[in-house]
Amino acid sequence: MKSNLTNSNPGKSEKGSARHGFEDAAQDPELEAVLRDFRASVHAWSDATYQSRSETTYRNPSLVHSPAPRRTLWRQSLVWALSLVLTAGIATGGVYEYHQRELARQMAQREAEHQRQLAQQQHAREVDELLAKVDSDVSREVPSAMEPLASLMAEDDTQ
């Protein structure tokens, strides 16, 4: 089972025996030398970095089993905190907005009711005034209509 676990380059034994077309192009010795130097450069840089870091990072193999790098954890925590604040803000804003709208609606309703009552009172007052005016006009007209009779009665008294 998993017999080739640590065989880092199983195909290396074939190297040199099976050349590909593009590798023929790399047969240029100068280009090959540059590529070899490039490889050596990467290896040297990587080895130096790896060795210097291995004192701290790579000494303890259990680090591999750590859930996530500290930087990632810190970022995740920040993202979670921001998300929570944002969600709470949106929810609070929604509730506040609803409350404000409800208050405004109730006030408008009360105002409309008040206006309606005022209008009714005004209308009732106008009707009363009109009736009173008609009554007064009628009462003033009656004596003048009876006045000739009254003068006739006065003449009869003198006779």
Binding site: S3, N4, S8, F38
Partner: protein
């Protein structure tokens, strides 16, 4: 049966010890960022640990790990693209600095200087290659992997790997010009 899990854990420890440095090197060459390469190496082995039970040994452990490393790297760049607050600052080292890492052989100082210049030039060219070309180029000429292994690690066909490699090499040769 009861000891199957400790055995698997032991096998995984061997894989980590055997391949961690190589995975780190590939990620370092790809990103040119030491901190990022370390982080991605950790992520790679974390994912490998989680999926270790699913590894059936159809390919070599290195090919399997390289595939995970490539995916981890892709995920990282994809996530960076989506970060609207992403930082513009990068820890990537300058190509001249990377080119300085050349072991001093028995050649003369002049030859050393010339070799450093050429290596720095190759770094510059590799930096400008497309993502796939760079990945295939590094796997072939830095990690010395065979075409079939590269195909297994990248999920590309052998022909596609060869095509990318051919183009990458052609570009390196063309840009190095008569100096190579």
């Amino acid at each position: 049966m009861a000891s199957a899990q400790p055995i698997a854990a032991q096998e995984f420890s061997h894989v980590v010890v055997a391949h961690r440095q190589q995975i780190f090197r590939f990620l370092l060459a790809s990103t040119r960022d030491v901190d990022l390469a370390e982080t991605l190496t950790q992520e790679c082995f974390l994912k490998a640990h989680r999926n270790w039970a699913g590894f059936r040994g159809e390919s070599s452990a290195l090919t399997w790990l390289m595939r995970i490393a490539i995916n981890v790297q892709k995920d990282h760049w994809r996530n960076r693209r989506l970060q609207f607050w992403r930082t513009t600052r990068t820890n990537a080292v300058d190509v001249d600095e990377a080119g300085e890492w050349l072991p001093s052989g028995e050649s003369s100082p002049e030859q050393q200087l010339l070799a450093r210049e050429k290596v720095a030039k190759v770094w510059e060219i590799v930096k400008r290659l497309s993502g796939r070309q760079r990945m295939v180029f590094l796997l072939r000429y830095v990690e010395e992997m065979e075409i079939a292994e590269i195909a297994g690690a990248t999920g590309l066909s052998d022909g596609t790997v060869k095509a990318h490699l051919s183009r990458a090499l052609g570009r390196v040769r063309a840009e190095l010009g008569g100096r190579a």
